[in-house]
């Protein structure tokens, strides 16, 4: 199917229409999928968004209305999830459109996101840990945004130096490293800003 869309996107007028169709048609399927995942009725979404139920009904009919950004923001707020509005290459948009599955699409609410579940984070850190072997360099760019270098380094490590020596190996939650979520995955390399590539190694004991 992707070859078909590639062929169509070569036509500039189709490209323009394709972008509009993602809003005209695609959004209704996304909202419907999010409602289904949460078990929400139209009335429930209407209540959460402060809109009238007939308005929700219209939004759920593909192409019936073109929701503006403010409407989408209110819907995102109701689902307690983010809304990304950004410019993108056509290839990315086409891949998104092709891979979107109305039956399984879901976006977790803030409370459902693992990295925001604070109590569980601590438990995960104990049971699911790895050592960072770091010669030198800053680790800041690899930290989740809610974690400071102080928190990563812990007591006794000077954040000012922004270095972690092998003697100062620290155990942190594997879930706290973006892109490295599962123990079964091969250990990725982490790039530090002022050194080359430093490997992550799994804890051995």
């Amino acid at each position: 199917m992707i070859s078909k869309i590639v062929e169509k996107l070569r036509d500039a007028s189709y490209r323009k229409a394709f972008v509009a169709s993602q809003i005209n048609i695609g959004i209704s399927f996304q909202i419907r999928a999010l409602m289904k995942a949460r078990g929400w009725t139209q009335e429930k979404l209407a209540e959460k968004t402060g809109m009238l139920q007939p308005r929700i009904s219209a939004i759920l009919k593909p192409g019936r209305v073109r929701p503006n950004i403010e409407t989408l923001r209110r819907i995102a707020e109701a689902f307690d999830c983010g809304l990304i509005v950004r410019f993108a290459p056509f290839g990315e948009l086409a891949r998104w459109s092709e891979s979107f599955d109305p039956d399984t699409f879901n976006v977790p609410s803030f409370e459902q996101e693992p990295e925001f579940r604070q109590p569980e984070k601590a438990a995960t850190a104990q049971s699911n840990a790895l050592r960072i072997l770091a010669g030198a360099g800053t680790a800041e760019e690899h930290l989740p945004f809610w974690m400071t270098l102080n928190e990563l380094a812990g007591p006794g490590v000077s954040p000012a130096s922004k270095t972690l020596s092998e003697a100062q190996m620290k155990i942190i939650s594997i879930d706290s490293i973006p892109g490295f979520k599962h123990l079964d995955e091969p250990a990725p390399a982490v790039k530090y800003t002022n050194t080359n590539t430093i490997p992550l190694r799994r804890a051995t004991g």
């Binding site: 199917m1 992707i2 078909k4 869309i5 169509k8 036509d11 007028s13 189709y14 323009k16 229409a17 394709f18 509009a20 169709s21 993602q22 005209n24 048609i25 695609g26 399927f29 759920l60 009919k61 593909p62 192409g63 019936r64 891949r95 459109s97 092709e98 891979s99 979107f100 599955d101 109305p102 039956d103």
Partner: protein, 128 residues
């Protein structure tokens, strides 16, 4: 890429060999075509078709159903029937109020379905 199989959709081909769904598609504006593409693609990934995107059992045409979407402020319909998990598209048309455009769209869809069952007409895979 999505790895589950898409719901099969087939298009009515007249006894003269014309793919009538392709003819309908070519008659749409560019925006209508893009919206139809997006809608039909999403529906083919949806396991269970139901209202408001799909309406089964049209009055007086109990074996027919229709895919429904809006594009360019016009109601669009793809009338056909589901058989063994395959949607056979018989007729693409518009809809305003309770009137189809063309007005005899459902009667024509019935005739086309009858021609298929008699072996006078055939179908091809939807590949638009």
């Amino acid at each position: 890429m999505i790895d589950k199989p898409l719901k099969p959709v087939r298009c009515y081909v007249s006894p003269a060999g014309n793919n009538k769904i392709a003819d309908w598609y070519r008659g749409l504006s560019v925006q209508e075509r893009a919206d139809a593409d997006e809608f039909i693609k999403s529906m083919r990934k949806t396991a269970i078709w139901k209202m408001p995107q799909y309406r089964p059992l049209l009055k007086g045409h109990s074996k027919l159903g229709e895919l429904r979407w809006t594009s360019e402020k016009k109601e669009h319909r793809l009338v056909g029937y589901l058989e063994k998990g395959i949607f056979v598209a018989l007729m693409g048309c518009g809809h305003k109020g309770k009137i189809y455009d063309p007005a005899d769209a459902l009667e024509e869809a019935d005739r086309r379905k009858s021609r298929i069952s008699k072996g006078e007409a055939t179908t091809v895979e939807y590949d638009l």
